[in-house]
Amino acid sequence: MSETTYVQLLDLACGVFLLAAVLILWRRQLSAIVRLFTIQATALAGLVAVLAVHQHDTELGAVAVGILLLRAVLLPLLVRRALEASGEARETQPLVNVTASLLAAAVLALLAYAVTQPVVRLSPSPATHAVPVAVTVVLLGFFVLVTRRRALSQLAGFLLLDNGITAAAFLTTAGVPVVVELGVSFDVLLAVLVLQVLTSRMRAVFGSTDLDELRELHD
C-alpha cells in the first residue's frame, strides 16, 4: 500500500468514525443510534486494519477482526435486545436540547484539537494527526453520558467513550498488544451486560428507564 493511499484510507476511516459520533449525538431514535454504532465500530475496525496493513502486523490484523466481531456484531445485538425489552423508542428529554448539544459538540471538537496539539507535535505522523478525532469522540461520549437521561442513551455514551479511547490508543501507539485489547474488550462487554441487567431491573421497578428515578438508597 502506497503512502498516499494509506493516509487517505486512514483519514477516511477517521472521518466516518467522527461523523457517526456526531450523528449519534444528533438522532433521538434509539434504534438509529444502535445502527450508527455498528457503522462506527466498522470504521474503527477499518482504522485498525489500515494500520495493520501499513505496519505489516498480523497480530494487529487479528485485533481488527476481533474489534469487528465484538463491537460491530455482538454489542449492537445485545443493545438491540435490551432496546426491544425496554420498549422505549426514543430519548425523550435530554437535559440539554439537541441544538445546544450540537453547538456544544462544536466547542468540544475545538477543545480536543487544542489539547492534543502537544501529542501531535511529539511525533508528527499521519496517525497522530488523527488523534484529535479520537479525543473529540471521547469528549462527545462524556457529553452524552452527562446530558442524557435514559439508561440506554447512557449506554450509548459509554460505548462512544470507549470507542474513542480505543481509537486514541491505536493512533498514538505502534499497536496495542492483543492481551490488553482483549482485556478492554471484555470489560466493555461486561459493562454492557451489567447495564442491560440494570435497564431491565429499572424497568421492572419503575416502569421506565429514566435515571432521574434513581434517587433513594436502599438496603
Binding site: 472521518g15 467522527l18 436540547n97 459538540a105 462544536a106 471538537a109 494527526h129
Partner: protein, 315 residues
C-alpha cells in the same frame, strides 16, 4: 478571456434557463410516480410559465417599486450565478469574480429581495414568510461560509474555478474527510436554500406552513412566471454547484471548444441524477416543525466546522 470560455458561459446560462423548469418537472414526475399518481409530465412547469406569461400583469394596491423590482432582481442574480459558476467550463470570462463567497452573497441578495417584496405587500402571510425565510437564511449563511473555508484550504483560494480545477486533477481529494463532511453540510444547506423538504414544502397550499410560497402569494401573471422561473433556476444552480464541487468530472478545464457540448450533457445528467435522488428522498420525508429547523441547521454547522478542523489538522 477566450472565445471558447465566453461561449461556454453563454451555453451554461442557456442550459440552466431552459433546463431548470424541466428539472422541476422531472422531480415532480418522480414524486408523482413514487406516490402512485400519473403525474403531469416533465414539461408541465414550462406550460405553466407560458400560461402565466400570457396573463395581464397586475399588482396589488399600495405596493411600491420593491415589489415590482424583486422578480427582475431575483432572476438577474440567478442568471449571473449561472454564468459565473464553472458548470461546464472553468475558463469563463467572469472567472475573476467567480469567488465562492461572492456567489453565496449574490444568491443571498436574491433571497433578501424576495423577502423585502413579501414585506412590501403588507399582508400577514407575506410578512410571516419573509420573517421565516430570514430566520432560515441567518442559520444557513454560517454553514455556507465554513464549508467554503473547508474546501478552499486545500486549494489556497476561494475561486470556484481553482477549487474545481484542483479536484478535477486530483479526484481522490473528494473522499477526504474534510470534503465528505463539507459535502454533507452543503447538501443540508442546499435543501434549506432551495426551499425543499424537510425545511420547506414546495407544493404546500397551507399558508401556515409556507416559507417561500408565503412570500410570493401576492404575485400574479408575468411577475409570478418570473419568480417561478427564478426559483426553478435557483434549484438548478444550487444542485449544479453541489455537483461541480464534489463530482467535477467532465468539466472542461482547458480552452478547447469541442469538449463543451459533452461537458454540458454531463452537467445536465449530473443535475438530473441529483434531482431524482432528492425527489425520491423527499417522498420519505415529512416537513420539520419550524422550531426543529435550527436543530438541522446547527447539525450542518457542526459538520462544516468539523470539515474545517479536519482540513487543517489532517491535511
Amino acid at each position: 478571456m477566450t472565445a471558447a470560455g465566453a461561449l461556454g458561459a453563454a451555453a451554461q446560462v442557456a442550459l440552466v434557463g431552459g433546463g431548470s423548469p424541466l428539472l422541476v418537472g422531472l422531480m415532480r414526475q418522480v414524486r408523482a410516480r413514487l406516490e402512485g399518481r400519473a403525474g403531469a409530465g416533465v414539461a408541465q412547469p414550462w406550460r405553466d410559465l407560458r400560461k402565466l406569461l400570457r396573463k395581464e400583469p397586475i399588482t396589488p394596491d399600495g405596493t411600491g417599486w420593491v415589489f415590482r423590482a424583486a422578480p427582475l432582481l431575483l432572476t438577474a442574480t440567478v442568471l449571473v450565478v449561472a454564468a459565473v459558476v464553472p458548470f461546464a467550463t472553468t475558463s469563463s470570462p467572469l472567472d475573476s469574480v467567480a469567488d465562492l463567497i461572492a456567489v453565496a452573497a449574490v444568491l443571498a441578495l436574491g433571497t433578501v429581495t424576495l423577502a423585502l417584496a413579501g414585506l412590501d405587500t403588507g399582508t400577514a402571510f407575506g410578512g410571516m414568510g419573509a420573517s421565516r425565510e430570514m430566520t432560515v437564511m441567518s442559520l444557513v449563511e454560517p454553514t455556507i461560509l465554513l464549508s467554503v473555508f473547508a474546501l478552499s484550504v486545500r486549494v489556497g483560494s476561494t475561486n470556484l474555478a481553482a477549487i474545481v480545477g484542483a479536484t478535477v486533477h486530483d479526484p481522490r481529494a473528494v473522499i477526504s474527510p474534510a470534503s465528505l463532511l463539507a459535502a454533507v453540510a452543503l447538501a443540508v444547506v442546499t435543501m434549506a436554500e432551495a426551499g425543499r423538504l424537510p425545511v420547506d414544502n414546495p407544493s404546500t397550499h397551507l399558508e401556515l406552513t409556507m416559507i417561500h410560497e408565503a412570500m410570493i402569494l401576492e404575485y400574479a401573471g408575468p411577475d409570478l412566471a418570473l419568480v417561478e422561473w427564478a426559483s426553478a433556476m435557483r434549484l438548478g444552480v444550487l444542485l449544479g454547484l453541489l455537483a461541480s464541487l464534489f463530482a467535477p468530472w467532465g468539466i472542461v478545464t482547458g480552452a478547447g471548444l469541442a469538449a463543451i457540448p459533452l461537458a454540458l450533457v454531463v452537467f445536465a445528467a449530473k443535475v438530473a441524477t441529483l434531482g431524482v435522488v432528492l425527489a425520491a428522498g423527499e417522498v420519505f420525508l415529512a416537513k420539520l416543525r419550524l422550531f426543529r429547523v435550527p436543530e438541522l441547521l446547527a447539525g450542518s454547522f457542526l459538520l462544516a466546522l468539523l470539515a474545517v478542523a479536519a482540513s487543517f489538522f489532517l491535511g
